[in-house]
Each structure stands twice: as structure tokens, then as C-alpha cells.
């Protein structure tokens, strides 16, 4: 299946979860705000949310320091 993440098309295996996709991108899920099809996803749903063909995903990743 194909999704669009931050404007870029990506091929993913069927039933890939949001958490699995973040792991593929080498991102710590705790430091990422994820929006799937314009809905902000709560952190406790990342492991259960299965992505679907055509999903549009926006990720905002934070780095430390303040």
C-alpha cells in the first residue's frame, strides 16, 4: 500500500502500524506529534493504529533543549 507522509509517497506493508512506521523512520514515538487524515493521534494509540492505503500523515518531530 502507499501512504503520503509529510508530502512524500511511501510504500508500506499492509497493516503497518503508526508506531512501526515511526520505527522505520528511526523516530522516537514519544517525541513525535502525528496527524493522520487531519486527525491528531493520541500517543497511546500509536501501537494500535493501522495505516490504510492512501492515508495522509503529517509528522512533527521534536528535538531536546530548552
Amino acid at each position: 500500500m502507499q501512504i503520503i507522509c509529510n508530502g512524500q509517497r511511501r510504500d508500506l506493508a499492509e497493516d503497518t502500524t503508526l508506531a512501526a512506521m515511526l520505527a522505520m523512520l528511526d523516530l522516537d514515538p514519544n517525541t513525535v506529534v502525528a496527524e493522520v487524515n487531519r486527525k491528531i493521534i493520541e500517543r497511546d494509540q500509536y501501537e494500535d493504529l493501522r495505516l490504510r492505503d492512501g492515508d495522509r500523515i503529517e509528522l512533527i518531530r521534536f528535538v531536546g533543549g530548552g
Binding site: D28, N30, T31, V32, V33, E35, I40, E42, R43, I60, R61, F62, V63, G64, G65, G66
Partner: protein
């Protein structure tokens, strides 16, 4: 016409500084005429700007207001004076943002942090050596009162989470995310986007090290929601946090907060 302590006063030929002191501020012990220190017998000319200062005296609320109005304009100051701003995290970002916003005369600040001032904070955060060991909320409030005692500064000595963010900052006009921890930065943005629609928000990410200051930007990610930083300079990769670059990011945040309060929704 003269300007004496920020206010216009009719000029009379032959007036001396001492006349002003007797008339306006008998306790004044430092006299400035157009910025220069002078004595009581200095002769005044029409158009002179005079300051009569009693060393150590705290100006009245009205005097502070007039000084801010004169510099920022009454229109701007009226908006800032009735604004409430929340600051989450009182480290290098949050303490600098708070100082900047108190200086411009924001009406009310709500400051939240649970940390204690330690020696390793002093190199970049607005705390004093003799405040080591105090709660940051208490220490920063004490510092801010020395800048402008007429700003209402409320403090919350708590470790913030999503629920507390919603409770504590429910009625702020603009909320500033100044956390150090990237997971908390994400928690805050998730909370705001999900539960606090319409609120002004300025977060930060990517400000470590001493890379170019010109790479720190303010980016708009949603209506009234902004993130400041270079998006990549992590403490782990770019090195420690240094006062200059953290300060650049903090002042981007403070400036964007100001812009939102003045009705400008652009970076």
C-alpha cells in the same frame, strides 16, 4: 514645553533644575538634563528632557504605564496590558521569554515548572547565584518583580502533563512551550491541537550548540500555532545549550507571542 519624568510641563524662561525638584520631586538625588547628570542650578531651555530620580525608588504603576505607552504606543500597550500569557518550563527558553514579556508590560503571566535552580542553570537561565536551591517559579517571580512589579505573575509549582496543561492554561491568550524534554514538547503540542482549539501557541525545537543564529526560524504550522528553532540541533548532536542561541530562540518565541497578541497571525 519641557518633558519632565516622561510628562510634558510648561516651560518658563529662567527655570533651573532646582525649581523642578522643589515643585515635582523634592526627594530627587539624581538630576538628568537631556541625559547628562547636572546640578540644581542648571539652567533649562525650552524643549529640554529632564529626569528627576530618587535612587532606589520604585516608580508608581501610572509612571510605568506612561513610560510603556510612550515607547510602544497606547494602542499596542492597551492590548498587551489586558493579555494573559502562559509559559510551560522555566529554563533557558522560559526564563528569557518571561523577562522579555514582563519588560513589554504583558498584563498577566502564568509560569509553570517543578524544577529547582541549580548551578548548571546559571550559564543560560535568568537566575542569580544566590537563588540556587530555590524553586524556579519562586526565583523567577522574584527576579521579574525587580523588572516590573505591576505585571500579575502567577506561578504553578507542578510537573505538567496533558491534563494540567488544559486546566492551568485554559484561559490564556497565548501559550509558550519552553520545555527541555522533547517528549514533553510533543505532549504539549498534541494537547493544544486536540483540546485547546483557537489558542495562540509558540513551541520550540532545535536550538542547541553555537551554529549560525540565522538558521533559527519561526514556522507557522497551523493557524495561530508556531514552532521556533532550526528543527534539528539536538542537545545530543549539537552539544550543550548556550545562552546566546537559546536566547535567540526564546526571543523569537516572545516576539511571535507579541505578534499574536497584536492580531498578527504570520511568522
Amino acid at each position: 514645553m519641557l518633558i519632565v519624568n516622561e510628562r510634558p510641563l510648561p516651560f518658563r524662561v529662567g527655570m533651573r533644575m532646582g525649581d523642578l525638584v522643589d515643585e515635582i520631586k523634592p526627594q530627587a538625588d539624581v538630576l538628568l538634563l537631556n541625559g547628562m547628570v547636572v546640578g540644581r542650578d542648571a539652567l533649562l531651555q525650552d524643549g529640554d528632557v529632564c529626569s528627576l530620580i530618587h535612587t532606589g525608588e520604585i516608580p508608581s504603576a501610572l509612571e510605568m504605564e506612561q513610560a510603556l505607552d510612550a515607547r510602544h504606543s497606547p494602542e499596542v500597550q492597551e492590548k498587551l496590558g489586558r493579555a494573559t500569557v502562559g509559559i510551560m518550563g522555566l529554563g533557558g527558553l522560559g526564563s528569557a521569554v518571561a523577562v522579555s514579556l514582563v519588560k513589554v508590560g504583558i498584563g498577566r503571566l502564568i509560569l509553570a515548572d517543578h524544577d529547582v535552580v541549580v548551578l548548571s542553570n546559571i550559564h543560560r537561565q535568568h537566575y542569580l547565584i544566590d537563588q540556587i536551591g530555590l524553586k524556579k517559579t519562586r526565583a523567577l517571580k522574584a527576579f521579574l518583580v525587580h523588572i516590573n512589579p505591576f505585571v500579575a505573575v502567577e506561578t504553578r509549582d507542578v510537573k505538567l502533563d496533558s491534563r494540567l496543561i488544559r486546566e492551568i492554561f485554559a484561559d490564556v491568550d497565548v501559550l509558550l512551550e519552553c520545555f527541555d524534554n522533547p517528549a514533553m514538547k510533543a505532549v504539549a503540542l498534541r494537547t493544544v491541537l486536540t483540546h485547546m482549539p483557537g489558542i495562540g501557541y509558540v513551541g520550540a525545537s532545535g536550538l542547541a550548540g553555537y551554529g549560525s543564529g540565522n538558521t533559527i526560524l519561526t514556522r507557522k504550522i497551523r493557524p495561530r500555532v508556531y514552532i521556533v528553532g532550526d528543527d534539528e540541533s539536538d542537545v545530543r548532536t549539537a552539544g550543550s545549550l548556550l545562552a546566546p542561541r537559546v536566547g535567540i530562540a526564546a526571543h523569537h518565541q516572545a516576539n511571535q507571542a507579541l505578534r499574536l497578541l497584536l492580531g498578527i497571525d504570520e511568522a
